[in-house]
């Protein structure tokens, strides 16, 4: 009776996995911000060089990468078993494990846990998973204030802003901007604050210290969870995390289900890969690990929330699955020519850059982040630096195919994705069904016409699968010579106008290569064939194709 529609993806209307506008539109605005361009270029260039230097020190870097890849692949292949093992071990040591199918459930679980302590303020160590699910908004709806204690996250929070980088969430801000934010938002800050980094850090430290000492509840993410012992691990570089993890009586940690690793030995591999890839450091400054509850020492209430939110759907995609191996080092962002120019906000999702361009549409379903797989020149720099060898360019290409094939299924016509759907109409139909949670209805599915691009691609395939049609098309294309001025074409009609806005296009030559070959070498050599044994494939122009145009 029922049809299997695939694993559920991350629900709409909650959290930060979707942008409000397509990538090219958001990117155009970012590109015009010269301050942002400068901040990004400076920061990514610096981190890139640092990473390259420390990676080059290790003679076995490639072996480490391969080990990282293999561990993650093995884990994903047996994810259900490792998660149940993790749950058993955490529970046996006094922790409580909660399973959340999506952001809505996870927010409810965390909110209830905080409520039960009576706390109205929680301290947080940087956690992308909680950003993904929009936890701070959900807590605020329940009258609970979440204080971000990572310096960069604090800057973002005080600036009423959004993170723009996985590792360096305030990478889009410079020192002067940060000083202005502190002076405006911190309240208790010295009005003579300068933009010297040490002074900014000290201001944040004084501000945060009071929060740490009074907090009853800490909320963290998880970098790695060791299944064999139930040990959770957080990797950070400021020490704020250790404060959050040790001072409050209640500690709630939220982790995507893909963060589990089988053994302690596996952890050793990642603790070598992660710091060199992310901050360009040989060793991570603050690596905190805790196993359940230790009576009389540290948090006495320890909770672990396991978040799915589309991860099982990603796992079900055998080509895209390695995206779940990501250890959030952000090396791919720092080397990406696209990220370097536009920054993280243009991607809309909390996961920006090359990894975000595959992970976000995998979590939400490709129809909701349809422009992201195309936000790449496929240069491959991301794959080269990935510490767990995620072949991001190939997965980008795969996601593009998924997008096209989804549109094809919907339009019912051989071809590609439907024309852009009525997102404005959808927005107008939003329903608020719980505080902070909106439900956006799916538009009724009606057969759509294939997009102009799909028609073009189908036509190009038809033309290019026949040499006769191809040669005829070339001859038609030579009419483009009429558009030329002094050897170039300065203006082409849409969709190629995007090209000629900033670049000249070549004027088609008087003679194509194949015309030249035929003129020079004669028709006899045109039908050259390689199959010595098989029948010679002599090219016969198809009907309507006339001759080869000598």
């Amino acid at each position: 009776m029922s049809t299997f529609l695939g694993m559920p993806t991350a629900p709409r209307g909650i959290g930060h996995l979707r942008g409000d506008e397509p990538f090219p539109v958001a990117a155009r605005r970012a590109l015009a911000d010269s301050q942002l361009r400068r901040n990004l270029s400076k920061a990514t260039t610096t981190i890139r060089a640092k990473r390259a230097r420390v990676v080059a020190e290790l003679p076995d870097w490639e072996e480490l990468r391969e080990a990282g890849r293999a561990i993650k692949a093995k884990t994903l292949a047996g994810l259900d078993g490792y998660l149940e093992q993790l749950e058993r071990e955490v529970s046996a040591r006094g922790g409580t494990v909660h399973w959340a199918r999506d952001a809505i459930e996870a927010n409810q679980i965390v909110t209830e846990l905080v409520r039960s302590t009576g706390a109205t303020e929680v301290v947080k160590v940087k956690s992308i998973a909680t950003d993904e699910m929009g936890l701070n908004d959900a807590l605020a709806e329940a009258g609970i204030q979440a204080v971000e204690t990572d310096l960069a996250e604090l800057i973002v929070q005080l600036g009423h802003d959004r993170p723009s980088h996985i590792l360096v969430p305030a990478i889009h801000r410079n020192r002067a901007e940060i000083r202005d934010i502190f002076l405006r938002e911190m309240g208790d800050v010295d009005p003579a604050l300068t933009d010297v980094p040490a002074a900014l850090a000290e201001a944040a430290r004084l501000h945060l210290r009071r929060k740490f000492l009074s907090a009853k509840v800490g909320i963290s993410g998880v970098n790695f969870a060791v299944a064999e012992t139930g040990t959770l691990c957080v990797v950070e570089s400021e020490g704020n995390g250790r404060m959050c993890l040790t001072l409050p009586n209640t500690l709630i940690s939220v982790m995507g289900i893909e963060k589990v690793i089988p053994t302690w030995a596996d952890l050793g591999v990642f603790l070598q890969l992660l710091p060199r890839s992310s901050t360009g450091e040989r060793m991570n400054p603050y690596t905190s690990m805790w196993t359940g509850v230790t009576p009389g020492d540290g948090p006495q209430q320890v909770h672990l929330v396991l978040l799915d939110n589309g991860r099982t759907a990603a796992l079900a995609d055998s080509v895209g699955r390695p995206a779940l191996s990501c250890i959030r080092c952000s090396a791919c962002l720092n080397v990406c020519p696209v990220y370097e120019r536009v920054g993280g906000h243009a991607y809309g999702s909390i996961y920006p850059g090359p990894i975000g361009a595959i992970l976000s549409p995998m979590l939400t379903g490709v129809e909701d982040n349809a422009s992201l797989p195309y936000a790449s020149s496929l240069c491959g720099a991301c794959y080269d630096v990935c510490p767990v060898k995620i072949d991001i360019p190939s997965i980008l290409v795969h996601m593009r195919a998924r997008h096209v094939e989804a549109g094809r299924a919907e339009s019912g016509v051989p071809g590609g994705p439907r024309a852009p759907r009525a997102s404005k109409a959808r927005r107008e139909l939003r329903v608020q069904w719980a505080p902070g949670v909106e439900w956006v209805p799916r538009m009724p599915r009606v057969p759509k016409m294939p997009s102009p691009e799909a028609v073009t691609m189908a036509a190009a395939s038809w033309v290019m699968s026949s040499p006769g049609r191809f040669a005829a098309a070339q001859r038609a294309g030579q009419l483009g010579r009429l558009l030329g001025r002094r050897g170039v074409i300065g203006r082409l009609p849409p969709p190629l106008s995007g090209w000629t806005r900033a670049r000249d296009a070549p004027v088609p030559p008087r003679e194509t290569f194949r015309q030249w070959w035929r003129r020079e070498r004669g028709p006899g050599s045109v039908s050259e064939s390689g199959s010595a044994a098989g029948p010679g494939r002599t090219f016969e122009p198809e009907s309507g194709g006339s001759d080869d145009g000598a």
């Binding site: 020149s377 496929l378 290409v397 395939s461 969709p495 995007g498 070959w517 064939s529 390689g530």
Partner: protein
Amino acid sequence: MRIALFVTCLADTLYPQAGKATVRLLERLGHEVVFPAAQTCCGQMHVNTGYQRNALPLIRHYVETFSGFEAIVVPSGSCTASIRHQHAMVARRLGDDRLAERADEVAARTFELSQLLVDVLGVTDVGAYFPHRVVYHPTCHSLRLLRVGDRPLMLLRDVAGIDLVPLPDAEACCGFGGTFAVKNADVSTAVLADKMRNVLATGAEVCTAGDSSCLMHIGGGLSRLKAGTRTLHLAEILAATRDDQ
């Protein structure tokens, strides 16, 4: 050696000089070049834009056209990379395992020009003469998919008269990316701006590469700026001799 030329649809249609130079160069080195006229396109544009089903006939066509040849040369790193890394993958994904096997076989005999010269024909000094200041842009797919490494530079260093200068931040993408250049024209242009700045900083007369597509991008930008630096395919420099001067 008898070498089949897959000239690529782009060079065939818009940059025939790259194909002619490849023929001239290989024949000068004493090899026989054949041009199977049935050839069309490798299908990379379709694959990279998401239209794998539309790419499949093109992949099959490439495999059928070139299956009988011992060595196939392509004056493009990007098209060679597509043949080597995508043809079998797409065939497999769409359930045609037989085609995937044949595609793998043909791909193993398909070489980018600098790979063919250095690895198969074992030559770096091709007897070229080119008395100009040149920068070489290593295109992303030749560099990171095909791993041609410094083979093109080895060939260029052995060109007589050349003033080969290093390109700052050479391994950075030029921003082309196929349909990316149109779908994300603004970002593509922003990436190109930095590439052009680096090219122009060298004072080179010529920017060369092993891909007509990236050169179309860089050259289109330089031409719009009237920058006075032109683009030439690697094959054109390697084919040049004293007689051309």
